[in-house]
Amino acid sequence: MSNGLTTLNPQQPKTAAMAERMAEVKGRSLWADARARFLRNKAAMISVVVLGAVFVFAFLGHLLTPYDNETIDWNVLGKVKELGKPSLENGHYFGYDDSGRDLFARVVQGTQVSLMVGVIGAAIAVIVGTIYGAVAGYLGGRIDSVMMRFVDIAMSVPYMFVLILLLVVFGRSIEMIFVGIGLTAWLDMSRIVRGQTLSIKNKEFIEAAVATGVPSFTIIRRHVVPNLLGVVVVYATLLVPQMILTESFISFLGLGVQEPLTSWGALISEGTSTMNYGTLWQLFFPLAFFVVTIFAFFFIGDGLRDALDPKDR
């Protein structure tokens, strides 16, 4: 490096180079390292952009169209194949759905619902799972084994049955989906967090905190949970698409969100049942949104894992 510099102006740049070098060795936190690694990951960065676009579409998409998702165009009804094609001229960018409603507005709404279920469902799972796992792992002993045995048992109950049962018994509504998904999704999280907590628990700084008389729950809150964050973040990103998948699965069967609300699963289901009539756009648009979003979440999750967990590299 200094060889190259001597050919340039000898006095000034040398000190500049020194200063630059000093700046370079300035300590970087683990998080800054992770951020740099993540920013270098092309697939993940593209996914962030794509996902951002999907979110914007979901929450601002209704501004782009004069149509709402409930108005039925009676002129098109029954002739959707001929008159309902997607077109830019009449403003029905995605065409009509089978009941003569604007598909663009429907997809906007479906995207909203699916993303909401994904994000909120994952958030519930992360919060409950982290607290449960951290408490079990930190307290250890008999409390730990009772808590984790319960998780073992609950995990081997096939949750889709319980979810469908809940929806049937208490009515098919979006709130019930949240409850049903929230009931089961935290179990995995709690296992992962417990494992991590067990390894953090024996570190010196925890010992120091114990020695100075910090109460258990303060230790969990101040020292254990912040150190779990990396794992939690990665897992949460991978949990969102799983939640979306679960909700879509349920809604595809018709047991999930109900009209006039809709979601990707419900839209794909409609598209599937109407594709015999040649109205393929009804299948294509929701399917494309679904696949692209799930892809993006997976790539971001993978990118975050590579960024935050360098030992795998």
Binding site: I153, A154, S156, V157, L255, S269, L280, V291
Partner: protein, 307 residues
């Protein structure tokens, strides 16, 4: 090993009971019974019907009677919706269908996924590896309810090669699309798991030793690397099984194959609790049993687990 098996069985039984109690309790507390129709029945008639189905008994007694019926006579009781059919009839009709395409899908996912994963790992960074990785990434976002419409679109509507639904006694052309739709995403997961596990194993010390001894690749892979490689795959079999059981709901509803999934979803719409309960019991106990077998298999392969 024996004590491990005993401990594992000791978990499976309370799990099954928990599932049963939850489902039973949920159905009992449900607002609106199975006989609430739009035209309300006279109270005496309703009381008679409820007495006939034993619904006037306290819950714990109903549960015990129900379990007794299943254990002693394999009798799941009558359907609330179809007065002329018992839950047994429905199982007898739907279960063989589900079993057929389910077993084929499961075996296919393991064999093809495993082979693809091993091949990709052995020839890492070859075109085969890239092909396998590409497929597994793509198939991650193709769950059964996405795969099935695409298959019907291509092979039924465009090419006209395969029938888009029905079962027809399980002829191969009716089985092929359900199997592909059900197994693809699991095949992909198994391939990915096998590949990464195999790569890790191939880098380990004992494989280097085997190579240093001059063993041929064939022996190294089949005799030494395979066993540690399949461990993560084995532990994935449980979730894959659960996924396929629930995936059959989708398959039955898209392809009209008439398996138990069709009846389960129908029962869910009709609030036919007897059918739901019977199928939950049947499929739930199969899942729990399968998970138990997988765990035991895992412990048998990897003795560390038994501790």
């Amino acid at each position: 090993m024996l004590s491990f098996i005993i401990r594992r069985v000791a978990i499976a039984i309370p799990t099954l009971l928990l599932l049963l109690i939850i489902s039973f309790w949920l159905m009992q507390t449900a607002p609106g019974g199975p006989f609430n129709s739009e035209r309300p029945l006279p109270p005496q008639v309703l009381a008679n019907i409820e007495a006939k189905y034993g619904l006037d008994q306290p819950m714990w007694k109903q549960l015990i009677d129900y379990l007794k019926g299943i254990v002693t006579q394999f009798d799941f009781g009558p359907s609330y919706k179809y007065k002329d059919r018992s839950v047994n009839d429905i199982i007898a009709q739907g279960f063989p269908v589900t079993l057929k395409y389910g077993v084929i899908s499961f075996v296919l996912a393991i064999v093809v996924g495993g082979a693809l994963g091993i091949a990709a790992a052995i020839r890492q960074n070859s075109w085969l590896d890239y092909f396998a990785v590409g497929i597994t990434i793509g198939a991650q976002v193709l769950p059964n309810f996405v795969m099935a419409p695409i298959l019907i679109l291509v092979f039924t509507l465009w090419l006209g090669w395969l029938p888009g639904g029905g079962w027809n006694g399980g002829q191969w052309d009716h089985v092929i699309m359900p199997v592909i739709a059900l197994s693809t995403s699991y095949m992909a997961s198994i391939a990915r798991l096998t590949r990464s596990s195999m790569l890790e194993v191939l880098r380990s010390n004992f494989i280097r030793t085997a190579r240093a001894k001059g063993l041929p690749d064939r022996v190294i892979i089949w005799r030494h690397a395979l066993k540690p490689t399949i461990l993560p795959v084995v532990s994935y079999l449980g979730p894959a099984f659960v996924g396929m059981v629930t995936g059959s709901f989708i398959i039955d509803s898209i392809f009209s194959t008439g398996g138990v999934g069709y009846f389960y979803v129908n029962a869910a719409f009709n609030r036919d609790y007897a059918v739901m309960m019977g199928l939950t019991f049947l499929l739930g106990s199969m899942t729990i049993l399968f998970n138990m077998v997988v765990d035991i298999l895992y412990a048998w392969i990897d003795p560390k687990i038994r501790l």
